[in-house]
């Protein structure tokens, strides 16, 4: 009866129970096999550590969040500008694309030491890593979005005497928005990867550093606590960018909305 009335609620309930079930299974498996908490701590242990060490972990959490957001923000800004430059003309696209692919295929771990040499260990290399890693998906998506404008529509406007700027502003940019927002969701997760990466290699603050030190001390529950914090932060930021996406480009996701309404 209830399931018939509200399929959305039912789906959410199922997702939530899957999540809780996962942790319960983990807990039970640990107890059943008697695995050492040096290898795999139980979720209850992790939670306990999390609550006990929160005053210690909190500044690091803030640090990681701050680094990620700054790196992500700058990365998106640079990505949008580069994407606009590349996507606005065929020639620019052809010229810049190999270069872009070349840069993006460099493993970002390899870049961190260079940033450390340039700027010293600390926040700056972490921000830069997070920036560099989040640029690529934004550039590619914005450029693709701009290039995906229907030629017929462009013709309709050009016949009216529209200038390149008019077409960009009225058609290409709105058309590219869904692509941009799709890339934001990817970029924010990558951004996290970049931050934690740089923090584990060369930093004195942040969750990555905490996990590095904890694993050095064989404090495995602490490592997992760090992991959990990262997961929660990641989910929150992902959900936020999803929300913004839906607000800004609802027209591109109408099927979902209609499905919800009916």
């Amino acid at each position: 009866m209830t399931s018939k009335l509200n399929p959305v609620m039912r789906q959410r309930l199922l997702s939530a129970s899957a999540l809780v079930g996962f942790f319960i299974l983990w807990e039970l498996a640990c107890i059943a096999t008697g695995v050492s908490d040096l290898v795999l701590p139980r979720p209850s242990q992790i939670l306990q550590v999390l609550f006990e060490k929160m005053p210690l972990l909190w500044p690091h959490t803030v640090q990681t969040l701050y680094t990620t957001l700054v790196g992500f923000g700058l990365g998106v800004l640079v990505g949008i500008i580069l994407g606009l430059l590349i996507g606005s003309s065929r020639t620019a696209y052809d010229v810049a694309y190999p270069l872009l692919v070349g840069f993006s295929s460099i493993p970002k771990v390899a870049v961190v030491p260079i940033f450390v040499v340039w700027f010293g260990a600390g926040t700056v290399p972490a921000i830069l890593t997070s920036l560099v890693i989040s640029i690529f998906p934004v550039v590619v998506n914005v450029a693709t979005g701009l290039a995906s404008t229907e030629p017929e529509l462009e013709d309709v406007l050009r016949v009216l005497g529209a200038k390149k700027r008019d077409i960009l502003w009225n058609v290409s940019l709105p058309r590219a928005l869904p692509y941009l927002f799709a890339s934001l969701k990817i970029a924010i997760t990558l951004s996290f990867v970049g931050t934690v990466l740089a923090e584990t290699v060369a930093a004195n603050k942040g969750i990555g550093t905490v996990m590095m030190i904890a694993s050095g001390n064989f404090d495995v529950p602490m490592v997992f606590a760090g992991l959990l914090i990262l997961a929660v932060l990641g989910v929150i930021l992902y959900a936020l960018s999803s929300l913004v996406e839906r607000r800004m480009t609802g027209w591109a996701q109408r099927k979902n909305d209609l499905g919800m309404a009916s």
Binding site: E150, E152, L153, D155, V156, L157, R158, V159, L160, G161, A162, K163, D166, N170, V171, P174, L177, T249, W251, A252, R254
Partner: protein, 285 residues
């Protein structure tokens, strides 16, 4: 009125590099008087749309003379040029705008309306868009989004968008091609009425001969690539034409004749293509 509104003289268009490019139009001549309604028909790929693009200024002829609205070689960038409305088979509405905003788009871009757009978009321009929408039977749909409308409704809105800035020249590229026959016939009547209201010059590209016979004053039959105009027919039936008339024997005869003419052109082109491919094969061998 010695100078026609549109004049193509010996126009040749070649796509791609000079010598080996595809010849789309070969020394074509076409004159259209102001206020006339001309249909271009012919087999697919014969250069109908190429002529449309030339007239629209989206394409430059490789050689030959082109005059639109008394100006030579129009380009889209000229100021004070002929005001043109354009509608395609695909209605190409912008999904992030409402129907009314879509219809008002030309006012946002075309001089002299664009200066006033910010000031009048809520008042005068919106009323104008609504009035036009009401005329095509879309009263009350202005606030809907494009995906909430059917194909026929979108095509009506597309016609509105092509007419909102009161163009002197209306270019229609198979505008009803994707619609079912009932909707199509409804829109024929509507198009005739819109044309009779403001009498813009209309160039209609279509492969539907009954459509051409119903709507146009003149039908130009084109040959296969490279395109040339084979036959130029006046359509003498009086206006306003009705749907019943489009089934009348005179119309059927006309359609029949034109159909045969196109079939001839097609077989001729096929034969030519066959000999051409044969000769290239020999060259390769």
């Amino acid at each position: 009125m010695t100078q026609p509104f549109i004049d193509l003289s010996e126009v040749t268009v070649r796509y791609g590099a000079q010598a080996q490019g595809t010849l789309a139009l070969d020394r074509t001549n076409l004159r259209i008087e102001q206020g006339d309604f001309v249909a271009l028909v012919g087999p697919s790929g014969c250069g109908k749309s190429t002529i449309l693009k030339l007239v629209a200024g989206l394409l430059q002829p490789s050689s030959g003379g082109l005059i639109v609205g008394g100006r030579e070689s129009p380009t889209t960038q000229q100021s004070g040029k002929t005001r043109i409305g354009l509608a395609f088979q695909n209605p190409t509405m912008l999904p992030w705008l409402t129907i009314r905003e879509n219809v008002m788009m030309p006012l946002k871009i075309v001089e002299p309306f664009r200066q006033d757009y910010a000031r009048k978009k809520k008042g005068e321009f919106a009323e104008r868009a609504e009035a036009l929408l009401a005329k095509v039977g879309l009263k009350g749909f202005g606030d809907k989004r494009p995906w909430q409308l059917s194909g026929g409704m979108l095509q009506r809105a597309s016609l509105c968008r092509a007419l909102i800035h009161e163009p002197q020249l209306l270019l229609l590229d198979e505008p009803f091609g994707a619609l079912d026959s009932f909707t199509r016939e409804e829109l024929w009547a509507l198009t005739q009425q819109l044309w009779q209201d403001t009498k813009p010059t209309v160039l209609l590209v279509t492969h539907d001969l009954r459509e051409a016979a119903y709507l146009a004053n003149r039908i130009c039959v084109m040959s296969s690539r490279p395109g040339r105009i084979l036959e130029d027919r006046e359509v003498p039936f009086e206006r306003p034409r009705t749907l019943a008339m489009s089934y009348a024997p005179e119309v059927s005869t006309l359609v029949q004749e034109l159909r045969l003419r196109i079939a001839e052109a097609r077989t001729a082109a096929d034969a030519q293509a066959a000999t051409e491919s044969l000769s290239t094969e020999r060259k390769v061998a």
